[in-house]
Structure formats: C-alpha cells, structure tokens
C-alpha cells in the first residue's frame, strides 16, 4: 500500500467530510440569503419541464442506490435471501436506468443553459465549475456501473471492497487496502465524488439540504411574531443572564 493510497483513501475522505460539514455550516451561518435553487424557470419553461424532473428524480434514485450499495453490508441482503447475482442484476438494472435519466436530464439542462440566452446570462462561473464536477461524477459513475456489471470486461463485486472501505471511513477504522485493490474505474469515480462533495457547500447544490419535507406537516398559514421576549426588555445575551436565572 503506497503513500498515494493512504492519501486518497484515508486523508481525502476525511478532508471531504471535514470540508463538507464545516463548509455547509459556515455557508448556512453566513450566507442564508445566497442559499437558493436560483431557478431559471422564469426565463424558459418548455425544456426545464422535462429536463429538471428527469435529472432530479434520477439523481434521487442514484442516491438511493448508493445508500443500498455502500451502506448496507452484503451479509444483510444475503441474510434477507437476496443472492449476489440477483442483487447484482437488480442494482445494475435500476442503476443504469437511474444513471441514464440523470445524465439525460443534466445534459438537457446544460444544453438549455448554453443555448438559451437569458438562462446562459444567469449562469455564474461558480455554476459552470460545479457542472464540471457534477457531470464528471455522473459520467464516471455510469462507466463504473457498466464496467462493474460485466457488460464490458468481467463483472465486479464492489460490495467486497468499495463498500466495506466506505463504511470503514465512518467507523473511524479506515481500510485503504480494500480500496487499493478495487478497479481503477471505481477509484476514479470515488475521487470525483469526493471532489464534488468538497465543492458542494460552496455551490448552489446546497439547495438539496432544503428539501421542504416539513411542508407536509405544518399549518397552511404561517404567522410570525416580532419577538419572543416581553415588551420593553430584550432577551439577555448568552453569558449575560441575570444572577440566579
């Protein structure tokens, strides 16, 4: 195991996690106003009507697939009576469909962004950079799926190497040797993914954290008061509370 392996499969993952968490926290603390989808639907409606749901639903399925493949140990699915072959067929089938939808969606979105004048004008450098990382991760992911499935070359059971390595990172017991022996395509995809997560907090992708699930549970009309404190007084700052309070 080389220094490079340590760097890529131990240092980089923890760096990613650190930047992802602190970056998101920092962004939320200091840039709530910039935290938005920055939708361009006002400028163009027809293409986005197809492309945006295609991409977003596709990527949600892809996320679900990653959770299944990376977080759930092979032993669990086997115990549930799902053979490796059956799992493989299912994962590759659904993964390829979801990946294709995502890629088609993002391609259409980028095409729209490039060809529609107002939408292109509304695209920042930050957006363009983000698209490079996003599309790279998606394309490499699709390639990995195809290679791993055995459509090209032999099939590969990533649940014996990549997945345990992934879990080992979060169990604070990193096992870079597992990743070191996996296929190059998986390695490249993993690095691309980590890079995407590193830039994530600093791009418009943060809107993913704002998925409005609570909407389903709140009353329709929201009232807000001016403040929780009594009239005429101001809530004491932390550290300046009255004695005995």
């Amino acid at each position: 195991m080389s220094a490079q392996d340590i760097l890529l499969w131990v240092a980089l993952p923890y760096l990613t996690i650190a930047v992802f968490i602190t970056g998101t926290f920092w962004r939320y603390r200091y840039d709530k106003f910039g935290w938005t989808t920055r939708s361009s639907q006002l400028h163009e409606r027809k293409l986005i009507r197809i492309a945006s749901p295609l991409f977003h639903l596709g990527i949600l399925a892809v996320v679900g697939g990653h959770v299944m493949g990376l977080l759930i140990p092979e032993g669990w699915t086997s115990a549930a009576g799902l053979s490796e072959d059956a799992y493989h067929v299912m994962a590759v089938g659904l993964g390829a469909v979801a990946g294709a939808c995502t890629l088609a969606g993002v391609s259409l979105l980028i095409y729209r962004r490039r060809t529609n004048g107002p939408v292109f004008n509304a695209t920042t450098k930050n957006d363009k950079t983000m698209y490079v990382f996003l599309v790279a991760a998606i394309c490499l992911g699709l390639v990995t799926t195809i290679i791993g499935s055995g459509v090209i070359g032999d099939g590969y059971n990533y649940r014996e190497t990549v997945s345990p390595w992934f879990r080992s990172i979060f169990l604070l017991d990193p096992k870079p040797e597992l990743m070191a022996e996996s296929l190059p395509s998986f390695k490249v995809h993993a690095v691309a993914g980590m890079l995407l997560f590193i830039i994530w907090p600093f791009t418009r992708l943060v809107h993913a954290f704002s998925a409005p699930v609570l909407y389903l549970f709140r009353p329709y009309v929201v009232y807000r008061e001016r403040g929780p404190h009594d009239p005429g007084s101001r809530a004491p700052r932390r550290g300046w509370e009255k004695v005995g309070s």
């Binding site: 910039g34 609570l214 807000r224």
Partner: protein, 543 residues
C-alpha cells in the same frame, strides 16, 4: 374569539385617473434593481384589459388561490403532495413573456453617434439578454384600451361574462365603460401564497397582518408565485428569491402611509386598521356559495366600537392606541359601515384586504352623453338599473359575480352625488335620497367628507408600531438587501446576492451619508441602480 389587527387599504376607483404615479414611485422605492426589472409591486390596469401578468385572473389556467374540495378548503393547484411533486418544475409558473421582457434604450447612441443625415435613434435593448429587441408588451400595454378590439376581448372577465350575456358585451362595454384598477398585494387574511410556500419563508405578521417573504429562508421554490391568484408575488431572477409588496412596512411602522398612497395624486387611497376574528378566517373562506363570501368576509371584521370587542382585543394583546386607531379607521367605515368598498375577487377565497369602491363615473358619463341630468338621483338609479353590463363586469371583479353588492354600492355613491348637489347649490336637501339607499343624511354627509373632501388625516389612520417591541422589528430581511440594492456592495462569492444581507436602515444611512458629506459629486448610480440598469456600453454592469 381571537382578535387580530390588519392594516388594510381601500381605493376609490372613481378618482383614479390612471396616471401611474403610484406604480412609478413604488418602482423607484422598491424594484429599481437588477433581477426585478419586470416587477411592479403596484401596477395600474385598464379594465377591460388583460392585466399584468397577462390574463392572471383566468384561474382555470393559472390555478391560483383556494377552492372547495368536498367542503374543505385546499389550494387550487392541488394538495401538498402534488405540489411537492411538482417542485422541480412548477407547471403553473408564468414565464417572463407572460409579464413582459423589460428593456431600456441605448441612450448613449444619442450623444455618441457620428454626425449624419438622420437623427440618431435610441434602440430598445433587452434588460434580460442585453440585445436589441422589439417591444411587444409591457406592464400596461393595453393602457386606456390601447389595441382595444384586438386585446380587450381577451380580458378573462369579459370572456366569462360573454358566455352569460351574449355578444353585445363587447361593443357596449367598450363604448360605455372603461376604468382603472390599481393593484398591490392584497395582504390577505387567508393568503394562498403563504400556504403554498414549501419553505415556510412567507408569513403573515401577527401584529399588523402584513404578508412578507423572509429573504433568508426563501429557497426559490416558486410555489408562492403560482399560488397567488393575483400574481402579486414575483421571482427575482438574479437572487433566486421571491419578492412582493411589503405594504411599505418601514413606513407603516412609523405611522406613515405606503409610498403608493402617499404619492397618489387622485388621493384615492385610504389606509387604516381592521380588527378581525382570526379564529373564523378558515371557516369564512370555506363558505360554500361564492356569493356569500363577501358577507362572510364582512362578518370577520369586528366592530371596534363594541366594548366586548375592545375587551377581547385588549385580552389578545392589542395596544390601546391601536384600538383607538381601529375606531377611527376609514377602511372600516367604507367597508363595513357604509358598505361601499368591496374586496377584489372574493371568490379566490383568500380574504383579500385591499378593497375597492366601484367606479360610478362611467355610468355618470354615459348618462350625460344621452343628454340627461347626470346628477339627478332618479336618472342615476335608472341608469344603474339599465346599464347591466358594467355592473355585471364589476360584480365579477368585486363580488364573485353577484350584482347586488356592486349595485348597492353604486346606488349609495349616486345618492351621495345627488344629495350633496342639492346641499352645495343651496337647495332644500332631500332626505328621501339617502333613505332610498338605506342611509341617513348624516351618514351620507360623513361619507361625502371621507370620499370627496378626503383630508390626509382622515384617509390615513395608521398607528405606530410599538417601540417596546421594536427589537423584533429589526430588519431581518428586505428585498432591498443584496446585490443591486441601494447599498451597491459587491456580488458575493456564490453568485448574485450571496453573502450576508445588510439591514435596510444601515444601507440607507450609509448611502445618504455618502451623498451628504462627500466633497465630490456622487453620481446617483453609485448609490442606486438606475431603473434601466443599462450601462450604455453594450451590456449590463457586472458578471
């Protein structure tokens, strides 16, 4: 009973001359920034006309507001799940072309063009693409019935009543009837924009009922834009946030009327408080028959002179000076006591809080053209009975199609006109005229004072926000914040308008201080973005 206070407005349409001063001053105060070039928090529409955005009243198409589904109130655009499922692309969102493509002119050509045979022309340039464009629509393209026979028939209201009244609508209507409809956000008691916001960023202020967007919490899902049946929430395409009329809350809080009211040359706007029963709002909005919605909305408004109401208001934390202001409220008198003011489209079930006194003058004009005495009560009443089309049109706007409230309001205005003519000409006043519309001589005279004399202090009775609770009013979010706001700070690192917003007061303070103390002349655009935003050099500034 839970008593809440609502700052509300009444507009007397008889006095509106369609000068657009309200729109322009509002624009200069609030939306002269990049990203909201196409936005008019206040706009003035000519009726009949398509409105702004085009045909916004056609709820079959736009599905704004509420509807009754098996006796229960729900958003017309569907249930919560359905709308969340549409979050990735809102099928009901108007595009820019439904409003209009904003533009400026290439003024620089006028001074920099070389000497030539022809006078140079300032070409229109799109504020969206920066390219030359053909101007084909605007916020008031059909002003004064411009393009009448072609455009006005597409008025959703005309389309609706044409089905009922036959073809003569069009002709008679255009000959006999035209009026202006100034519109701002309705600050509804049952706001469908707030209900549609997935992030919970939109809220109704508990103290004064003003509906606001928390700019820090808005995530740009755009559901409020389509949820509002009046299309009075707008999407800032630069910041990616929803913006709307704030009822000039910084002015209201210090007891001043809104900019649109203050600058109205016709002095047709009235502002004051309603006290209403917040517990009954949903039930009132769920009234089954659309024709009963107006009565249900009036029922929500509590009599501020009733000691029981006052006691309940005190119990619910409404300050004494606010109760006094509610007792002197011109809007309460016009809406509930005289019953001449009517809400705009009560059938949307949002319980709108900007009310309108329907215009009598087109009827008077029509009558005068026939050679009759247009101030005579008998003639006016007769004309009101015979001019059915204007009344049906007004009824579609103000009373869900029920002609009775509109006719009653117009008859009161007609009665006031006739009765006061006798007074002013020194003739014997006829008590029978007020009686015929269910009013007394005193109340007609009081209404005349309010509508015709219209003293500033009678039109605006706005209590100040309470200083002891002022800390909560510290500006947390305002549409002036962000890049392109008057403060003109640099765009943040994450695209337009990222970074921390600066409170309005701080911005204004610095901007004014710079202008007042600077040794050199500070050009206005260094403080405030020019309305056009066009830099005259072939593109927009920045990015």
């Amino acid at each position: 009973m839970r008593v809440m206070a609502q700052v509300a407005m009444v507009m007397n349409l008889d006095k509106c001359i369609g000068c657009h001063t309200c729109s322009v001053t509002c624009k200069q105060a609030w939306t002269n920034r990049a990203g909201v070039e196409y936005v008019w928090f206040n706009n003035v529409e000519t009726r009949p006309g398509q409105g702004y955005p085009r045909t916004y009243q056609d709820q079959e198409r736009w599905k704004g507001g509420w509807e009754l589904k098996r006796g229960r109130l729900r958003l017309r655009s569907g249930g919560r799940f359905k709308r969340l499922a549409q979050i990735f692309s809102n099928p009901l969102l108007p595009t820019l072309s439904d409003y209009y493509e904003p533009w400026t002119y290439d003024y620089d050509t006028l001074i920099s063009a070389p000497l030539g045979e022809h006078t140079p022309v300032a070409q229109p340039k799109s504020l969206i693409t920066g390219k030359s464009m053909k101007i084909e629509w605007s916020a008031n393209w059909d002003d004064d019935l411009a393009g009448g026979p072609e455009l006005a028939p597409k008025d959703p209201i005309l389309v609706k009543i044409r089905d009922q009244v036959t073809d003569r609508v069009k002709m008679e209507f255009e000959q006999a009837f035209m009026f202006y409809l100034p519109r701002i956000c309705e600050h509804c008691l049952n706001p469908s924009c707030v209900a549609a916001c997935p992030s919970g960023a939109m809220y109704k202020r508990a103290e004064d009922g003003i509906v606001l967007v928390d700019q820090d919490q808005c995530r740009g899902w755009r559901m409020c834009v389509s949820g509002c049946p009046y299309k009075k929430v707008y999407f800032n395409h630069r910041t990616g946030k929803a913006e709307k009329c704030t009822l000039c809350y910084p002015r209201i809080e210090v007891g001043l009327p809104t900019v649109c009211s203050e600058t109205c040359v016709g002095r047709l706007r009235y502002m004051g408080l309603f006290l209403y029963d917040a517990d009954k709002v949903t039930a009132a909005a769920a009234t089954e028959n659309e024709h009963d919605l107006l009565a249900a909305q009036l029922d929500l408004l509590l009599d501020p002179n009733d000691p029981e109401v006052q006691a309940a208001a005190r119990h619910d934390g409404i300050a004494e000076d606010w109760i006094e202001a509610a007792m002197a409220s011109p809007v309460y008198r016009l809406a509930k006591v005289y019953k001449v003011a009517l809400p705009l489209h009560p059938e949307y079930r949002t319980m709108p809080m900007v009310w309108y006194i329907p215009p009598l003058s087109p009827v008077v004009d029509a009558l005068r053209e026939t050679g009759n005495d247009a101030e005579d009560a008998g003639n006016l009443f007769g004309a009101l009975d015979s001019l059915r089309i204007p009344i049906e049109y007004l009824a579609e706007l103000f009373s869900a199609g029920d002609p009775a409230p509109v006719a009653s309001s117009l008859r009161k205005l007609a009665a006031m006109r006739s009765y006061m003519r006798d007074v002013n000409l020194g003739r014997e006043p006829q008590a029978s005229i007020p009686e015929s519309v269910g009013m007394t001589e005193e109340s007609v005279y009081e209404m005349y004072r309010l509508l015709a004399i219209a003293k500033y202090e009678d039109r605006y009775v706005i209590p100040k926000a309470h200083a002891e609770t002022a800390r909560g009013l510290e500006e947390t979010a305002c549409s002036l914040d962000g890049d392109g706001g008057p403060g003109q700070y640099e765009p943040g690192p994450f695209g337009s308008a990222s970074g921390r917003p600066i409170p309005v007061a701080v911005e204004t303070f610095h901007a004014l201080k710079e202008r007042q103390t600077s040794e050199v002349f500070v050009p206005l655009e260094s403080i405030r973005v020019n309305l056009s935003g066009w830099n005259g050099r072939g593109g927009r500034d920045e990015s």
